[in-house]
Amino acid sequence: MTDVTTTEESPTGDDGAESRDALEPTAAYGHDGGISARVQRTDAWRSVFRHPTNDTPRGRALQSFSNFFLHLYPVKIPARVLKLRYSFRLGFISAVLFGILTATGIYLMFFYTPAVGSAYGDMQQIKTGVGFGELVRNVHRWSAHLMVLVVFLHLVRVFYAGAYKKPREFNWVIGVILLLLTLGLSFTGYLLPWDQLSYWAVTVGTDLVHYVPLIGNSLQSLLIGGDQIGQPTLLRFYALHVAVLPATVVLALSVHIWRVRKDGFAVQRSSVGTFSEEATTVPGTGPASAPVELYGGRTRVLGVVDRESVTAADRPVDDTVFTWPHLIVRHVVVALGVATVVLAIGVAAVAPLRGLANPNLTPEPAKAPWYFSGLQELLAHFDPVIAGILIPTAAVIALLLLPYIDRNPATEARHRKVAIVIFSGLLAIAVVLTVIGTFFRGPGWEFIPPWQHWYVEL
């Protein structure tokens, strides 16, 4: 503890200013006489940034400790997390897209009124009369579609990595809830332009609800605020889109990220092995390399366990690196990359805006948003109660309960063939239905290949 109280004489004669960094007394703000160094030595600067940015192990740790934003991260992370192929950064990309959607959405809110009489006019005004309005709207729209896709891919990757297994079961559940919230965010935003595309997509989407047994009609009425899409629907969807759902996402995302951190980040895929008493150490009896012989030296295989389930004390301690700068720099690069991609798409592709919503004229075909078109395709083949309610409800419940149903602790594919085959089969069906519903359906839900006529609108 002596280093805490030790002070260092100021080499600059600056009233011992450097010594205020009590946790690292040798830490020094810039000693030169440059403007930047002088500013950093002021009390005002130090009231905000309490430690100098020293490139030492302790300096890096202090930066994380004393920075609100860096507090989202642990000070050190497993080195394997830095590898791109470990997670493909899909979770982080989802969070970046959510940030982009929040920023662009707030900008659009300044120019939009959720009223049937003015919403469509506001959209036209945004496109033509607001500075960067069309670009911001394009970025917002494409980011929303991209976020649905990336969150879904994230879920798929987590499944194949077996990262929903103990101790990550509950975080998987939160992830599934986040996927549903993402769909909800995208769907509620879909109505806001109040054009033909949005009106009929939401009509088709919300009409599914009335098939829910017993409370279907009440639930649909509650959702759209009446017996047909109108002003109450627009207001409800707006409130959900800009306040209720984003706030819920922030809450769920915070817990999600916090749990990722607490659970040691992505699962260590190569760690599956047989743990036996031979290799197990009793805490406090010696280093990990010194096996303890139990039961007279006999060894018994207790089972196949994921290394993550072994307590942190048993893990090697030298496989970690400092979050700052190793992970932070990578995240900044990925965030810039994502921003560049959505900006490029926003410049290249204009978000659709059809004619003013007309309740008396259904466009042909009237499709739900692409992420629900698989469901729409299913509805063309099965009874609505089965296709619209039972199957999607069963799918969501199965996803939520997956980590509690699949008790096999192995994370490598060769040890979990059944789960992977079932999941892959269902995934393939969902993808095929979505592709058919999105690309291969025309008026009257007739099968029309996209190379004959393009009936796709996002």
Binding site: W200, V204, D207, Q376, G444, W445, E446
Partner: protein, 167 residues
């Protein structure tokens, strides 16, 4: 015997559950749409003689069709909701086939709104219609679910080609 500590602990749990239930119920009641009597539900349709046999006339004000369906037993006027009972799309009337053909999922109904084919779970919903003097009046708040599959009271072969491009 339940200790005082357990009693209080369980009391908090029950109280919290009751509070959550009350909050949910209040929210439901608050957000539940009020009766929409503020908008007129009565639509004047004019004289019955305006509607020729085997025709469908669209009345945008009420978002309904008035059809004059005929079969060997006679003619009957219907006021049919424009909403497809499948997923709520407006069902256009195809004059060439003399049938209602939904472009969303391909449900087809005869001129009386009876289901012929497609994924719709029933026929088109019927709106109550009365004679007020010499004029027909429809009440859009008085809606009867369409007839079940197999009603077929007004079924007839299509008059001509359909509008959905089906073979």
């Amino acid at each position: 015997m339940t200790s005082r500590r357990d009693f209080l602990r369980n009391g908090w749990k029950v109280g919290s559950a009751l509070l959550a239930a009350a909050a949910t119920w209040t929210l439901w009641e608050s957000l539940r749409p009020l009766s929409t009597n503020t908008t007129s539900a009565i639509i004047k349709l004019g004289s019955p003689a305006n509607f020729a046999a085997d025709t469908a006339t669209y009345v945008s004000e009420g978002r309904l069709y008035v059809t004059n369906a005929t079969n060997p037993a006679g003619a009957q006027l219907f006021a049919l909701s424009q909403k497809c009972p499948h997923l709520g799309c407006k069902v256009p009337f195809c004059t060439s086939s003399g049938r209602f053909e939904c472009a969303c999922h391909g449900s087809v109904f005869d001129i009386a709104g009876e289901w012929i084919e497609g994924p719709a779970p029933r026929g088109m919903d019927r709106i109550a219609m009365t004679l007020d003097g010499d004029n027909l009046v429809a009440n859009t708040k008085d809606v009867t679910p369409g007839p079940d599959h197999g009603a077929d009271q007004y079924f007839s072969e299509p008059k001509g080609p359909n509008c959905l491009g089906k073979g």
